[in-house]
Amino acid sequence: MFDLQGYGELVLKGFGLTVAVALLSLAISTLLGMIGAVAKLSKSRVARTIAGVYTTIIRGVPDLVLMLLIFFGGQMLVNDIGDWMGWEYIDISPFIAGTLTIGFIFGAYMTETFRGAILAVPRGEIEAGHAYGMTGPQTFFRITLPAMVRHALPSFGNNWLVLAKTTALVSVIGLHDMVYNAGAAGFTVKKPFTFYLLAAGLFLVITATSDIALRWTNKRYSSGVRKA
């Protein structure tokens, strides 16, 4: 039943791309999330407003719509600017567009995750840092950041699992990820079910592996904390 007729390698190649898109967009979203969280908790009204608009809009629009909007709309915008400036056609690579879009979307969720985690760090610890004469950034990197990881992890892990599965959307913008290759191979040999099952299994491999990594990280950052 599970005869892949030589298409296994193609799906595995897609698997590699899926993992690459997922990890890169995770890095982008983590970065954006940290910036967003700090902005949301900052004293500056402008920073708070920008971060607020970002999380409200991005979390309110379906991922697929955003993906199409940024990829196709972005290309059209670039074309229009190009025509106006008299440039030749400039291609936005689907890999970059897809990775940036997913990173951009999940940055909004990460913002909320990190904001909650920062708020969970006891105020007194941060004040202690200031009392020792550390600057704002020093306090953040030496005290707030290590202490918040433990609080952020459960929700961070959640976001990551959803993000990994969201990468399936990049097939719509012409990227040959695992889902695209599985679909193409499946329809070619007329066994779509077999190939989508394989794709589902490989997604499980990704999520199961990350579960292990998350548990390990959690253990490390919870050292010194008594279990309730």
């Binding site: 390698e9 196709f72 709309g73 440039w87 400039i90 291609d91 193409a184």
Partner: protein
């Protein structure tokens, strides 16, 4: 927010590296699909093959153009064309009035006819008398449904199904005498499978544009009328010099072009 998006675009641009083409039609990027055998499918090494693909290369050779085939998921097919990800779509796209509002089409490059299939040994003929009282299966609200209802509606019993597959299954279960469907779809999806082994084609192919539309064309952005003309001329040329027939015979044992256009 605006600024952020703008920044991201600039970043994307910088990373993509300004990759530019000459704008006269010596270089053409063509959008294809890859999951619609035998018209387009993917080989184990990831390259494409199929009728659409061969036609695309033949047309490019005819036009003396340097072509790049871009495979794209069906859902994003027309948006990607409009966004200039490629300049033409050769993906078995039927010419329909709705699509014509968004894009321009060349003339058809194929038009698979609709055909009847009967149970082997039943001897049913496709005439008003031969079909009298027989049960005909079609997919609901399709061109085939319209055709059978208008042409044979008062002599046959029509059974309409939500999907083509349901019609096949009911035919295999013995509740159907005759099916009407797209010949290619039926050949690949039914007659050549185990489910359809008791059925066979009968009668002529039907491709009256009144019912079945104009066939599959090459979609091109509306402001590129020159490219439409270039493709039309190339389609005529490969029809005339036998290239088309060679490709046709590689995949089909009948002429998929259908009726010649006037």
């Amino acid at each position: 927010m605006r600024k952020l998006i703008a920044t991201l675009f600039v970043l994307a641009l910088a990373l993509a590296g300004g990759q530019a083409d000459a704008k006269e039609w010596k270089k053409i990027r063509i959008g294809v699909e890859g999951a619609y055998p035998p018209f387009s499918s993917i080989k184990p090494d990831g390259t494409l093959e199929g009728f659409d693909i061969d036609i695309a290369w033949a047309l490019c050779k005819q036009m003396g153009a340097e072509c790049d085939l871009v495979s794209q998921d069906w859902d994003g097919m027309i948006p990607a064309l409009l966004a200039r990800k490629y300049d033409a779509i050769i993906a078995s796209m039927s010419i329909t009035p709705e699509r014509k509002e968004k894009v321009a089409f060349t003339r058809k490059y194929y038009n698979t006819p609709a055909k009847f299939a009967r149970r082997k040994g039943s001897g049913i003929e496709i005439t008003a008398a031969g079909l009298k009282g027989k049960t005909v299966a079609v997919q609901r609200a399709t061109t085939h449904d319209n055709f059978i209802t208008a042409e044979f509606g008062d002599t046959v019993k029509i059974k309409r199904y939500a999907t083509q597959d349901e019609a096949y299954l009911d035919a295999a279960a013995g509740r159907i005498d005759v099916l009407l469907a797209d010949s290619m779809a039926m050949l690949d999806g039914f007659l050549n499978t185990d489910t359809g082994k008791d059925f066979e084609f009968v009668g002529p192919g039907y491709s009256d544009p009144k019912y079945f539309g104009e066939g599959a064309g090459i979609a091109i952005r509306k402001n590129n009328a020159d490219l439409v003309e270039q493709f039309n001329a190339a389609i005529d040329a490969i029809r005339a010099d036998g290239t088309y027939k060679k490709i046709n015979d590689k995949y089909f044992d009948f002429d998929v072009y259908g009726e010649p256009t006037s």
